[in-house]
Symmetry: C2
Subunit: 365 residues, 2 copies
């Protein structure tokens, strides 16, 4: 057994309230997952994440493979233990970061050769290697190795990308099934082990997306992600692709849209039946001074907040809004103080969690 997924309630037009039982954590869904690229949700201590109610965070396979290295993390007892996060963890496959971060990417049927963005060193990732790395990291959920189609992409490019992604999904799954019992924490959880999710690609072509979904479902993954979205396309197109794919995915497995989005987007997708989402937006925007609030987006660097004694979001009950003023957060940002990133991030995550909590409450039976 890997994970189990129990739908508690369903509504029109498809939104559902469920529980995802992972070895390390039962996750209430729909859920927003903060991104912890290099084994830390940037600027936020783990106990603060816990107190905000985070149940699952992401790690980036590409980054952790390069530094400190998956073998090091494996020797240290896996990613949960390494970063002291005894809750839900998901690692992406590295495919998206190879696509977006590394120089000199060369794709073949076998895999991808790429240069590290850290030191220019050359590396080769295959689906099998991505699985080995993710098993060494030992997150509760691993992702199939995919090729992310850029936007815009013409049909032949999208078809070729899809062909690769399908072949790599098969190889990912076969290798993962053969080796997942090697995960370092297996004995702590009565033999329960990692889950593997497949990733639906297909660019912005509905028929390719549908074909991809159908073939992945045949392979019988533990869950299904929709990838290759939020890569520059208009939001209506993002929504169209999600709406095309969702009905084709099995109702009894979790559905995960990768890399989205703004607060109103994650609410919208959750109400359509998306169970899991992740995005760097709340954390990255926070470090640049962009706060999400019940009154809209707030650029805390703006001069008009220099003597504003109200809470960042007066309607928010997070530890930052209960204690600090806009004037203070603006000052921290102006002065380049590290506390700025920490406090802004805490608020933005709290805001995202509150959005999802409200959605879950409205979906409750």
């Amino acid at each position: 057994m890997t994970s189990s997924f129990k739908v508690i309630a369903e509504t029109e037009p498809g939104g559902r309230r469920a529980q995802l039982h992972l070895p390390h954590q039962t996750v209430q869904t729909p859920v927003f997952m903060p991104v912890g690229t290099a084994g830390t949700v940037k600027a936020v201590p783990q106990d603060t994440l816990e107190s905000l109610g985070a149940e699952i965070i992401l790690g980036n396979t590409y980054h952790l493979y390069l530094r400190p290295g998956h073998e090091t993390i494996h020797r240290l007892g896996g990613l949960h233990r390494f970063i002291s996060w005894p809750h839900g963890l998901l690692t992406d496959s590295g495919g998206f970061q190879v696509f977006s971060l590394s120089g000199l990417r060369k794709v073949s049927d076998e895999g991808v050769r790429f240069r590290s963005h850290l030191d220019g060193s050359s590396h080769f990732f295959t689906p099998e290697h991505s699985m080995d790395v993710q098993i060494a990291l030992g997150a509760d959920i691993a992702m199939a190795f995919d090729e992310c189609t850029e936007y815009p992409a013409d049909r032949s490019r999208a078809e070729e990308s899809l062909r690769l992604t399908m072949a790599w999904a098969r190889r990912s799954l076969d290798h993962f099934r053969a080796h997942r019992s090697q995960v370092v924490w297996r004995d702590e959880f009565e033999g329960r082990t990692q889950s593997l999710f497949g990733i639906v690609q297909g660019g912005m072509y509905s028929d390719l997306r549908r074909e991809c979904a159908a073939r992945l479902v045949e392979m019988d993954f533990d869950g299904y992600a929709i990838g290759g979205l939020s890569v520059g396309e208009p939001r209506a197109l993002t929504l169209e692709m999600i709406a095309e794919v969702l009905p084709l995915l099995p109702a009894d497995k979790p559905r995960y849209v990768m890399g989205v989005g703004y607060p109103d987007e994650i609410e919208q997708y959750a109400r359509l039946g998306v169970d899991m989402m992740d995005c760097v937006l709340p954390t990255r925007a926070a470090r640049h001074g962009l706060l999400f609030t019940s009154e809209g987006r707030l650029n805390i660097k703006a001069k008009r907040y220099a003597e504003d004694q109200s809470a960042p979001d007066p309607a928010c009950n997070c530890p930052v809004c209960r204690r600090y003023t806009r004037a203070y957060l603006r000052h921290l940002m102006q002065a380049g103080e590290p506390l700025s990133g920490t406090l802004n991030t805490i608020h933005n995550l709290a805001y995202y969690f509150a959005v999802m909590q409200r959605v879950r409450q409205s979906l409750n039976p």
Copy 2:
């Protein structure tokens, strides 16, 4: 009434256990005060400082005057409210930062003209202006405006610096007494207001130090600091200067050594009868990866910690040592993650607080 200082127990060779009753906080002394230069102890949220047991922190008059400006902070209710720190606060006079940070410093009897390290703009500080700024900031304790003698300095330079410091101490005290009732929080504390401490200078000349101390005591400050130490002189000389001055200071007023030091130093000075100390060392060193531990100094960047699963300091009970490993802290540092500064700083402050707690316990009646 400003502050009151109650000695609970005294020991040979002079160490004393006392309570410093400030308007915002009763501080258990001897105490180590973290430095919060720009209105934040770098990288550490205020609630974390509280949970570590911090009772008083510093703000830097020079930095806060330049950004966001003392008038802004005054309009926002003073520094306590601005930074949400309803506990003890002390501001230095700006003298040391003018000396160490600003370019093109021109000293006259009237005051100091200097250029901002931020934008090169020209500013003029007099003792009266420093008092006005510190009253606007409204810390529980303000410091007289002094001229910090560089090291090494010949006797004629030290004499001239002392002459200025004495004249400025008098002017600081007169102006402060005439205006301290203007502090913004006065009505919240039944008319209690700020304290002003004089600063003993005199370079490394014992007789100048003694003369300075005697004349400051005549002026009757609320407390006495020893400044101009830890500016590059050998540690034996620091100790000699402290030992010269301490016996000349009134036993019923707090004694504060500015800008020290290493953990063994602050313990040593506390046992000699120093009640208050501050230093950027634990916080600044932390951000550079230097941890203070019961096993000595530990450079967490070192490769030998890459797979070290022990706590940063196995004998430490702080939230960082209870949760994280050396391997993880090293990784955060290597990856340039902001959490690195936060966790390292929390540990170092906890270590300093534990040192002082141990000293206080051994001094208890």
